[in-house]
């Protein structure tokens, strides 16, 4: 709710375009009670119906290690994302990569007027989020959506282990 209003407002102010559909997601990183906890690496991307890759949304990984190389060492553990897109990239990627985040709910907004959504062809897609944690597990959550949305769509999926609730909202 707290995202919705600003989204509409900024959409009006900054993008006087035909459609300014935005993709709002919130990803919950669960609090996991273990002796050795590391924040998970998380990748979010868009896939076509046949599960082929369409666009990257975000990759949260260890950007801040002293040795620049070190953080990328474990990107391969986001193994689905790595195979579909990661291995093609040179990290960090502007507008996509970011630091790892602590447990909690993380709302993220992807504007329809900006890359990569601005150039996303109309059609049926999946929003995919993959989480992989050092000394922990890995989990993938997929949510189908239509782009651009004809009517507002909100979907919630409860993760089982490395992800909490994943929520996705698309609006016309």
């Amino acid at each position: 709710m707290r995202i919705r209003v600003p989204a509409a407002v900024t959409g009006l102010l900054t993008t006087p375009m035909m459609f300014a559909a935005d993709l709002e997601v919130s990803v919950e990183i669960p609090r996991i009670n273990v002796a050795e906890y590391h924040r998970p690496y998380i990748a979010m991307w868009i896939e076509k119906q046949d599960q082929s890759f369409a666009a990257n949304l975000a990759v949260w990984y260890d950007l801040q290690t002293a040795k620049a190389e070190k953080g990328t060492t474990w990107l391969k553990d986001l193994r689905m994302w790595w195979r579909k897109s990661g291995r093609e990239l040179t990290m960090p990627v502007d507008g996509v990569s970011g630091a790892t985040r602590p447990p909690g709910v993380h709302p993220v907004m992807f504007r329809g007027s900006k890359a990569p959504l601005a150039s996303l062809a109309p059609g049926a897609y999946h929003f995919v989020v993959e989480a992989s944690r050092e000394v922990g597990g890995r989990e993938v959550v997929r949510i189908p959506f239509q782009w651009p949305a004809k009517s507002a769509q909100q979907v919630k999926v409860q993760g089982q282990s490395e992800l909490g609730q994943v929520q996705m909202t698309v609006k016309p």
């Binding site: 190389e69 070190k70 990328t72 060492t73 474990w74 391969k76 990661g86 291995r87």
Partner: protein
Amino acid sequence: MTIRVSRLAAAIALFASLPATMHAHRQWMLPSSTVLSNTDAWVTVDAAVSNGLFYFDHVPMRLTSLRITGPDGLERKPQNAATGKYRSTFDVHLNGAGTYKIAIVQSTVFATWDDAGQQKSWRGSASDFAAQVPPAAAGLKTSKMNSRLETFVTAGKPSNKVFETTGVGLELVPVTHPNDLVTGEAATFQLLLDGKPAAGLEVTLIAGASRYRDKEDEMKAKTGEDGKFSVTFKDPGMYWMNATTAPARGGGPAAGGPKPAIAGGPGAGGPGAGGPMRMPVGDRSSYTATFEVLPQ
């Protein structure tokens, strides 16, 4: 006869450093990782000969013919190489993005001849053959085994430069890149024999961790006219793959002498998957590889 062969084998061991008893034993290399996401990475590789996969409990694989090729096609030197009782081990520095080939390529000649009524035999590398076997020996019979043992590792995006073929022996041409294998997706490879599609060749694939199951559970595939075969891996893990040609006739009198030696140093190692020391039966080629299959 058996005893005599063993005694000979002991003598030959100086040159061909594997025992003559490696019937059905499998040669393999096992990399610590095959898919890496940093561009200045290291992998460590075990190399051994054994029955169970991938357990080092028999003899080490000798590293004399080891050759590592980088994504740029240039050779890389193995680091920290050592050979122990059961296995050899070495590190590979992946100092650039792309696919690396780690290969042990050998060309082993087996010869028998008649020396004043006594039968002599010899086994060793093709490059040692001319110097060590009398060229005019009576009743000289030779056969050659071209064996290629490979594994691949990729830092970053997979590349294809290392798959350029030499036209000698059995070689793998990827249709599916060997570092792009996942469960549930069909993978296709092509095998070439001396540069041409190896048609109708049986290919065996066996998953690792064989100690913890009752059956070998091997998968068989057969190459088509185009030398291609496809396989869908049900479970993730490390897989051993082998194909060996039937002996080509004409391994009889070495009228033309041995063919020129191909890649593979003086080390020699022994035939590919199996092949105890025996009479020359004709030229053969084998291709063996280790592939990693990741879960979806």
